[in-house]
C-alpha cells in the first residue's frame, strides 16, 4: 500500500495539502486503496463477477433460510457469530473464525455443517443437504466472495467550504500575542489582563463597579480555590490585615493548601467524564478507577504543567519513567482514555471496539480541543471542517491501542462473564508468573471450557428437556453455578488486583496500523484505509508524524500540546476563566467549533493563552494571575442602568454571583459542623465491588449509596458509579457522569428545598453544628447567633438579624415543648471524625461477598418490595432542637449557597 501512496501522510497533513495541490490526487489514492483491497481477494474481475453471482444465487439464500434466526444483526448472534456479513464470518464468534477464505478445511462453518463433530452441528436438528455443504465449501475455497461495500465516490475529498472554514474560523487560527490596548482610566488595571477588560467596557460605555468588600472577597476566593468556606478566624485575620500583600498572602496559602487539588481536580474529572462503572447497558464496576481520580488531584495539587498532564493522560505508557513509582503514575494517567461509559452487552466485538474508540475520540477532542470530532464518525462534520477521514485518522491511533478497562463485550452474560482480567494494567512492576501459576491458570481455563460445554450440552440434551420446569431448571442452575465457581477461581489466579495492584488505562495493541473508514459509521462496512494522523483543522508546520511502529498516541499527545496548537491553551485558559469569573470568554466551553459561541474578548483569550504557555503551562500561576486581577476582585453589585445594557455581564462590569456546586454545599456543611475529615480516604468504597453487574436495587448499590451518605470525607471521594450518583450531589446539578461536562447546569428546583429541609444528612450536620456552638457558649446568647452567622455565611449578623434569630430559637423551643414530637436527628449517629487522631470511622467498606449470579435469568427478578430505608430519627431536647432548626435554616438560606 505504501507503494501506491508514495508519500504516506498523516491524516491532517494529507488533507491540508488537498486544497493546495491535489484534490483529485487524494481522491484517487483512496480509490487505489479500495481497489488494492479488492485485489487481495480477487485478481480477475470476470471471475469475481461469477463468484458474486454464485454467492447471491446459492450462498446468501442458504444462509438466510438456515442461519439468520440465530446469527444475524437483526435477530440474534448466538455465540457472538453473525453470518449476514463477511467480516462477521471471517472474524467469527467465540469459537474463532467461521470462515477462512480459501481454506474450507480450516473453516469452522464447514465443520459445523458437516455434522461430523458432535459438539458442533449446525443448523441444529436440520442437517444441510450434501449439495448445500458442497456449495459452501466451494464458495469458501474460491475466496468467500461477498459484494463490496459501496461508498460514495467523493469520499475523502475535501470541500472548498472546509478549506474556507479552516482559514476563517477564529478558534484554530494561530495564537498571536496581542498588544495591550489603550485605556482611558489608566489607574484602574492591576494586571495586564484588566486592560483588555477595561478597553471593552470603555468601548461600551460601561463602568466597572467598585471592589468587593474583604468579607465577600475572602469567601469568594476561598470557595473558588478550595471549594470550602473560610473559617471565621481567617476572615477576621484577612479583614484586619490592611497590608498591600494581605490578598497575595491569602492566595498563596490557598494555592498551596491540599484542598486546592481536590477542588480543581474535580473540575477536570467533570471534563474527563470520570465515573467508577460502565453505565448502561449493564452497569459493571471499575474498582480501580479511583487511582486516576487521585492522580488528577495530585497533578493539580503539584501544579503539573498542563501540557505534561495532557501528554501523560494520552500516552503515559509511552513516556520515559525513572522509577517504578513514576511508571505506575504514568500508567494510571492513561485511565483518562479508559473510564468512559461502555456497552458491555454489545453483541459484536467490532461494534464494541468502534463505539469505544468513538467515545475516546469524543472525550479527547472535546475536553482538550473543544471540538466535536465524533460528529465525523458517519459523515463529514456538518459544521466544522472535520472530514470523516480525519476521524478515521484518529480512530487508527485508538484502534492500535488496547483499551484496558477490565471488561469485555458479551450479550446476555451473568456473573463474572464481563470481567476480563487480561484487560487491566498491572502496576507496581510485573510479577513474573511461576510455572506452577501458569499451569494453574491453564487448568482453570480448561475446566471453564469444559463447564461451558457441559452447560450447552445439558441445555440441548433431550433428556433434560423432558425434565421440564423446575427439575430441568435446577440442572441448568447447577451447571451455571459450576461455571461461576471456576470463573471465581480463574479471577483469583489472574486478576492483577488479587496478586498486586491494578489500574485502568491503555497500552499498545499487539498489532498497530491504520484502520479503514467505516461507511456511514457502521462498524462492519469497511471503506478505504486511512493513514493515521490528526485533525486537519488544526494543522501547523512542525506537527509530529505518527511513528508507523507505534499506535501514534505519543505523537497525538505531542500534537495536542505543541506550542503551535492554538486550541489546547485557549480551551484550558477559557475553562479556568469560567471557573473564576462565572462564564467563559467563550461561553460554550466544550465547543470552539463553528456552532460554538464566539469569544467576548478574543484578544484577552489569546493574551491569557500565550501567557499560559510562557508560564510553563502552570495552572496555579494562571489562577493566581486571574485571581489577583482587578476584574476578579470586583464587587457582585448590580447597577440598574448597566444591567439594562449588559444583563448577562458579558463585558465583566461586575463579578457574577455564583451558586456553590453540589460538592461545595455538602463539604461546607460538614466543615462548618466541624465534621469534615480532611484526610484522603484509602481508595474508594467502589474499590471492593466485584466486577459483576450492579443493579440499582442490588444490596451492593444500596451499600454504595449508604457509604456515600455516611461518608465525612470531601465529596470528590464519594463513590461515583454511573446511575448511582449520591443524592447529595445529584440534587445540586452534579456533572452528568457519562458526558464531557465543562459547565454544569445551575437549576433551582423544589427537590433542592426538600433535600435541605428533610434530608437526614442535613439534619445531622445542623445538629452537630448546634452542639458545637452550644458547647462553646453555654449561654447561647447573641454571641452564639453571631458565631453561627460567621461560620455559615462568613459575616457578622446585624442587630435585627440577631433579634430575629433569638426570637426564632425561643419561640421554637417553647413551641416544641408543647409538640408531641420534637426536632429529630438521626437515631444511629452518623460516623464522624475523631479529631484526636484525625482518622475517620466513616465509610468503612466491608469485604464483599456478593453472591455469584446463578439465576438462569437474573433479569426476571421482581423488584416490587423495594426497601428504601432512610435513617430513622429520634427526638432531641427542645433547646438543642431549636438551635438545630436554626442551624438548618442557615444551611438552607440562599445566602449560604451563593457567593457574592
Amino acid at each position: 500500500m505504501s507503494k501506491m501512496l508514495p508519500t504516506l501522510m498523516s491524516g491532517s497533513q494529507f488533507l491540508s495539502l488537498v486544497t493546495a495541490i491535489a484534490l483529485g490526487g487524494t481522491f484517487a489514492s483512496l480509490n487505489i486503496q479500495k481497489q488494492a483491497n479488492a485485489a487481495e481477494r480477487e485478481p480477475d474481475s470476470s471471475q469475481r463477477g461469477a463468484d458474486l453471482e454464485f454467492f447471491e444465487k446459492k450462498i446468501r439464500p442458504l444462509l438466510v433460510d438456515n442461519c439468520y434466526t440465530c446469527h444475524s444483526a437483526d435477530t440474534n448472534s448466538k455465540g457472538g457469530l453473525r453470518v449476514d456479513d463477511r467480516n462477521g464470518l471471517v472474524t467469527g464468534g467465540r469459537g474463532g473464525p467461521a470462515v477462512v477464505p480459501g481454506k474450507p478445511e480450516e473453516s469452522l462453518l464447514i465443520r459445523a455443517v458437516g455434522y461430523g463433530d458432535k459438539k458442533l452441528q449446525m443448523p441444529p436438528k436440520k442437517q444441510l443437504t450434501e449439495e448445500q455443504v458442497a456449495d459452501l465449501t466451494l464458495w469458501i475455497r474460491n475466496g468467500a466472495a461477498w459484494p463490496e461495500v459501496e461508498f460514495p465516490a467523493d469520499l475523502g475529498a475535501s470541500s472548498a467550504e472546509f478549506a474556507e472554514l479552516r482559514k476563517s474560523h477564529w478558534s484554530w487560527q494561530p495564537l498571536r500575542e496581542p498588544s495591550l490596548p489603550a485605556v482611558k482610566n489608566t489607574t484602574w488595571p492591576r494586571d495586564d489582563l484588566d486592560r483588555f477588560v477595561l478597553a471593552e467596557l470603555e468601548k461600551k460605555s460601561l463602568q466597572p463597579v467598585g471592589d468587593a468588600a474583604a468579607e465577600a472577597l475572602i469567601r469568594r476566593v476561598t470557595f473558588d480555590l478550595t471549594g470550602l468556606p473560610p473559617t471565621p478566624e481567617k476572615i477576621a485575620e484577612f479583614a484586619s490585615d490592611g497590608s498591600a500583600q494581605a490578598y497575595e498572602k491569602l492566595l498563596d496559602r490557598l494555592l498551596a493548601s491540599p484542598q486546592f487539588g481536590e477542588r480543581w481536580g474535580r473540575h477536570w474529572l467533570d471534563v474527563a467524564r470520570y465515573a467508577e462503572s460502565t453505565g448502561p447497558s449493564r452497569n459493571i464496576p471499575y474498582p480501580h478507577a479511583w487511582r486516576y481520580r487521585n492522580y488528577v488531584i495530585d497533578a493539580f495539587q503539584q501544579d503539573m504543567p498542563y501540557d505534561q498532564f495532557i501528554r501523560e493522560q494520552i500516552a503515559g505508557d509511552l513516556l520515559p519513567a525513572d522509577s517504578q513509582e513514576r511508571r505506575d503514575e504514568l500508567l494510571i494517567a492513561t485511565g483518562f482514555l479508559a473510564l468512559g461509559g461502555k456497552d458491555v452487552n454489545q453483541r459484536f466485538k467490532v461494534r464494541f471496539t468502534m463505539d469505544n474508540i468513538d467515545e475516546q475520540i469524543d472525550t479527547v477532542t472535546r475536553s482538550i480541543l473543544a471540538l466535536t470530532a465524533s460528529c465525523a464518525r458517519c459523515h463529514d462534520h456538518k459544521y466544522d471542517p472535520i472530514p470523516a477521514v480525519d476521524y478515521y485518522a484518529l480512530a487508527g491511533i485508538f484502534h492500535s491501542t488496547d483499551l484496558c478497562a477490565g471488561v469485555r463485550n458479551l450479550m446476555g452474560g451473568g456473573g463474572l462473564d464481563y470481567y476480563d482480567t487480561s484487560l487491566l494494567l498491572r502496576i507496581g512492576g510485573d510479577a513474573k508468573p511461576s510455572a506452577d501459576h501458569v499451569a494453574q491458570v491453564e487448568k482453570a481455563n480448561a475446566e471453564l471450557a469444559q463447564a461451558r460445554s457441559e452447560l450447552v450440552a445439558l441445555r440441548d440434551d433431550p433428556a433434560n428437556k423432558k425434565a421440564k420446569g423446575p427439575a430441568g431448571e435446577k440442572n441448568l442452575k447447577a451447571a451455571r453455578k459450576k461455571i461461576d465457581t471456576i470463573q471465581e477461581e480463574l479471577v483469583r489466579l489472574t486478576d492483577p488486583a488479587a496478586t498486586g495492584r491494578a489500574a485502568l488505562g491503555v497500552r499498545e495493541a499487539a498489532t498497530v496500523g491504520d484502520t479503514q473508514l467505516r461507511v456511514r459509521g457502521e462498524a462492519e462496512k469497511l471503506g478505504p484505509s486511512v493513514p493515521r494522523g490528526f485533525l486537519s483543522a488544526v494543522a501547523f508546520l512542525e506537527q509530529p508524524q505518527v511513528n508507523a511502529a507505534q499506535s501514534g498516541r505519543l505523537e497525538l499527545a505531542q500534537w495536542l500540546t505543541h506550542p503551535q496548537n492554538p486550541l489546547t491553551p485557549r480551551v484550558m485558559v477559557n475553562r479556568v476563566w469560567q471557573h473564576l469569573l462565572g462564564r467563559g470568554i467563550v461561553q460554550s466551553v466544550d465547543n470552539f467549533g463553528v456552532m460554538g459561541d464566539s469569544p467576548s474578548h478574543p484578544e484577552l483569550l489569546d493574551h491569557l493563552a500565550t501567557r499560559f504557555i510562557r508560564d510553563g503551562w502552570s495552572i496555579k500561576r494562571l489562577i493566581r494571575t486571574i485571581a489577583l486581577s482587578r476584574t476578579y476582585r470586583l464587587s457582585a453589585e448590580s447597577v440598574v442602568a448597566q444591567s439594562a445594557v449588559d444583563p448577562a455581564n458579558r463585558y465583566l462590569w461586575r463579578h457574577l454571583p455564583r451558586r456553590l456546586a453540589a460538592e461545595e454545599i455538602r463539604d461546607a456543611m460538614l466543615a462548618t459542623a466541624g465534621n469534615l475529615s480532611s484526610a484522603r480516604p484509602e481508595g474508594s468504597p467502589a474499590a471492593n465491588l466485584k466486577v459483576i453487574e450492579l443493579r440499582d436495587t442490588a444490596p451492593d448499590a444500596k451499600r454504595m449509596l449508604q457509604a456515600a451518605r455516611d461518608d465525612v470525607h470531601r465529596s470528590i471521594y464519594l463513590p461515583l458509579l454511573r446511575g448511582l450518583t449520591p443524592p447529595a450531589l445529584e440534587v445540586f446539578d452534579f456533572a452528568e457522569q457519562s458526558l464531557v461536562t465543562g459547565s454544569r447546569d445551575e437549576t433551582t428546583v423544589p427537590t433542592q428545598a426538600l433535600y435541605l429541609l428533610n434530608d437526614a444528612f442535613v439534619h445531622q450536620q445542623s445538629r452537630l453544628l448546634a452542639e458545637r456552638v452550644l458547647a462553646e457558649d453555654r449561654d447561647a446568647g447573641s454571641d452564639a447567633v453571631n458565631r453561627l452567622y460567621r461560620l455559615t455565611l462568613g459575616r457578622d449578623a446585624t442587630a435585627p438579624e440577631i433579634a430575629r434569630s433569638q426570637r426564632f430559637v425561643a419561640d421554637y423551643e417553647s413551641a416544641s415543648r408543647s409538640e408531641p414530637l420534637s426536632i429529630a436527628a438521626v437515631k444511629k449517629p452518623l460516623p464522624h471524625v475523631d479529631k484526636s487522631s484525625e482518622t475517620t470511622v466513616a465509610a468503612t467498606t466491608s469485604t464483599i461477598t456478593a453472591k455469584p449470579v446463578v439465576d438462569q435469568n437474573p433479569d426476571n427478578v421482581s423488584r416490587s418490595v423495594e426497601v428504601n430505608a432512610e435513617p430513622t430519627v429520634e427526638p432531641l431536647d427542645p433547646r438543642t432542637a431549636a438551635w438545630t432548626a436554626f442551624c438548618q435554616a442557615l444551611f438552607s438560606s440562599a445566602e449560604f449557597r451563593y457567593l457574592k
Partner: protein
C-alpha cells in the same frame, strides 16, 4: 438551522447558551412564571429590579392543538410474548412443530385465543379482563427495532438511541422540555419501579438537558426521598418562615443572585409538595370498590395493580408522563407458567385503569401505551421458551387522539417479521410526540455543537391511527 448567538434574548443571569437556546426555541416561560410569582410584592425592595429567569417547567403550548395532554406508559419489561397474548396467528397454530422460515421449530401458543368485542379482536385466554376492553385499543402490529438485547432495546425505547457512549434524554424529558408541567406542585414526570438495570436511570434521565426534566422515581410503596418532613409541620413552617425572611433580606442586596426569586419560590413549592405528594401516592384512601376493581393486594403480586392505581391518581392530578413497569417477561424458558403469573398480575389492573380513566372522563385527554422493548419468536427455544424477536411485534395505544378498536400494521403469517405498516422505534416516538402535540423535527435541543432530536434523523408520524 438558525443559531445566531446575537439573536438570543439576554437575561440578567449567567444563562448558558444552552439555556438561552432552550427558551429561544419556544419563547414562553416568562409570562407563566410572572403569574406564578404574582403574589409577591417586590416593590419594597431597594435593589434594582432583576428580570426573572424563566421557569423551564412552566406549561407550554404544544406545536399544534391536540387531544392528549398526558401519557401513561405501561412498560412490560423483558419482552412479553405477543404470540401468546395479543397476537393471534392461525398459521402458527396449525404449523406447530414444523420448521419455520429462517430455521427453528415453530411452536403454537398453548393458550386458547378467541375473538372479542365488536371489532372481533383476537385475545388469548390469558387476558380475560382486557378482552372486554379491546374495542378501546389501537394496535400497532408492525413494530420493529434494532437490537435483540434488552439493555440496548430498552434504552432505545426510552431515549431513542441505544448507543451507550452518548446518553440521550428520555422520552419523558423531551415531553417536559416541550410541554412543561400542568401542575406546578407535582413532578411532571414520574416513573414507578423503573428497570433497575438495562440503563437504569438513563431510561428516565435528562442526559444533557438540565435536571428539571428528568423523571422522578417512585416506588410502588409510594416512597419518594425527602418528601416526609422530619419535624412537625407547625415547627417546620416556623423554620421555613425564617429561611424565607433571610432570603427576602438577601433580595435587598444589590449583589443578590438572579435565581433568588426561584429559590424563594422553590421553598413554597416544596412545602406544598410534601403535603400533596404523599397523599396523592397513598392509594389506601381509595374506596374499597376501586381497590377491588384494580385488584390491589399486598406483596409483589399486587405491585402492578398498585402502580396502575397510582398512575391514574398521578395522571388525574396533572402529571404529564407516568411510566409504570411490570418486569419479568423474559421467557427463554418456563414460558407457560410465567405467562400465567404475569398476565394474572397485569390483566385486571390494566383493564381497570382503562375503565377508570374512561369513567372519569380522563381517557379523552390521556394517552395510554402498553408494551415491551421487543417481542418474541414464533419458534421454540428449549423445552418451554421463546427467544427475542425485533423484526415484528405489537404494542397498543388507547385513549386521547387515537382510533379506538383499530389495528395498524401486521406481521407475516407466523408473526416473525413486520410486513405491513412497519414502524421503527423512531416512528413510534415521532407518532407519540405528535399525539401530544409536538413536531418531532422541531423539538430540538442543542448539545455538543449540534441540534439533537428524540428521533435523531429519522421518524415518520403514523397519522393513520389518529382519531
Amino acid at each position: 438551522m438558525s443559531t445566531n448567538p446575537a439573536s438570543y434574548p439576554a437575561w440578567n443571569n449567567p444563562l448558558s447558551r444552552r439555556q438561552a437556546l432552550r427558551h429561544a426555541g419556544f419563547g414562553f416561560g416568562y409570562l407563566a412564571l410572572a403569574g406564578l410569582l404574582g403574589e409577591q410584592n417586590r416593590t419594597a425592595c431597594a435593589a434594582p429590579p432583576r428580570s426573572t429567569p424563566p421557569n423551564p417547567l412552566a406549561p407550554k403550548a404544544p406545536h399544534f392543538p391536540t387531544k392528549a395532554k398526558r401519557i401513561i406508559f405501561l412498560f412490560m419489561e423483558g419482552a412479553m410474548s405477543q404470540l401468546d397474548t395479543f397476537e393471534y396467528k392461525a398459521k402458527l397454530q396449525s404449523d406447530d412443530q414444523k420448521v419455520g422460515p429462517g430455521g427453528g421449530t415453530l411452536v403454537a401458543s398453548k393458550f386458547k385465543f378467541a375473538q372479542h368485542g365488536q371489532t372481533g379482536t383476537w385475545v388469548s385466554e390469558l387476558y380475560p379482563h382486557m378482552a372486554k376492553q379491546v374495542d378501546k385499543l389501537c394496535f400497532l402490529r408492525g413494530l420493529h427495532t434494532d437490537t435483540p438485547a434488552h439493555p440496548q432495546a430498552i434504552v432505545q425505547l426510552h431515549t431513542g438511541a441505544a448507543q451507550a457512549t452518548l446518553t440521550r434524554p428520555s422520552l419523558g424529558a423531551w415531553l417536559m422540555y416541550g410541554l412543561g408541567t400542568e401542575n406546578q406542585d407535582l413532578p411532571g414526570y414520574v416513573t414507578i419501579n423503573p428497570p433497575a438495570n438495562f440503563g437504569g436511570a438513563v431510561n428516565y434521565g435528562s442526559a444533557f438537558m438540565p435536571a428539571q426534566f428528568q423523571g422522578t422515581r417512585v416506588a410502588d410503596s409510594g416512597y419518594l426521598p425527602n418528601i416526609k418532613p422530619q419535624i412537625p409541620e407547625k415547627l417546620q413552617r416556623r423554620q421555613l418562615d425564617l429561611i424565607q425572611a433571610m432570603n427576602r433580606d438577601l433580595a435587598k442586596d444589590p449583589a443578590a443572585p438572579a435565581a433568588l426569586d426561584g429559590v424563594i419560590q422553590s421553598y413554597e413549592l416544596a412545602f406544598r409538595m410534601q403535603d400533596k405528594v404523599p397523599k396523592l401516592l397513598d392509594i389506601s384512601s381509595e374506596p374499597q370498590t376501586v381497590l377491588d376493581e384494580y385488584g390491589v393486594k399486598p406483596g409483589p403480586a399486587g405491585s402492578f395493580a398498585r402502580q396502575c392505581l397510582m398512575a391514574r391518581r398521578l395522571s388525574e392530578a396533572g402529571v404529564r408522563f407516568v411510566e409504570i413497569c411490570h418486569p419479568g417477561w423474559d421467557q427463554h424458558n418456563n414460558l407457560h407458567k410465567e405467562l400465567i403469573r404475569n398476565s394474572a398480575a397485569t390483566d385486571q389492573p390494566t383493564a381497570a385503569l382503562l375503565h377508570d380513566l374512561e369513567r372519569r372522563g380522563l381517557l379523552d385527554e390521556t394517552l395510554v401505551l402498553f408494551g415491551s422493548e421487543f417481542g418474541r419468536l414464533p419458534t421454540a427455544q428449549g423445552p418451554d421458551g421463546r427467544d427475542h424477536n425485533i423484526t415484528g411485534y405489537p404494542m397498543w395505544l388507547a385513549g386521547a387522539g387515537v382510533k379506538p378498536g383499530f389495528s395498524y400494521g401486521a406481521t407475516d403469517e407466523y408473526g416473525l417479521h413486520a410486513v405491513e405498516g412497519k414502524m421503527h422505534t423512531t416512528d413510534l416516538h415521532a407518532t407519540l410526540l405528535a399525539l401530544l402535540g409536538l413536531d418531532h423535527e422541531s423539538l430540538t435541543y442543542p448539545y455538543a455543537g449540534r441540534e439533537f432530536r428524540l428521533t435523531d434523523v429519522a421518524g415518520n408520524v403514523v397519522r393513520e391511527i389518529f382519531a
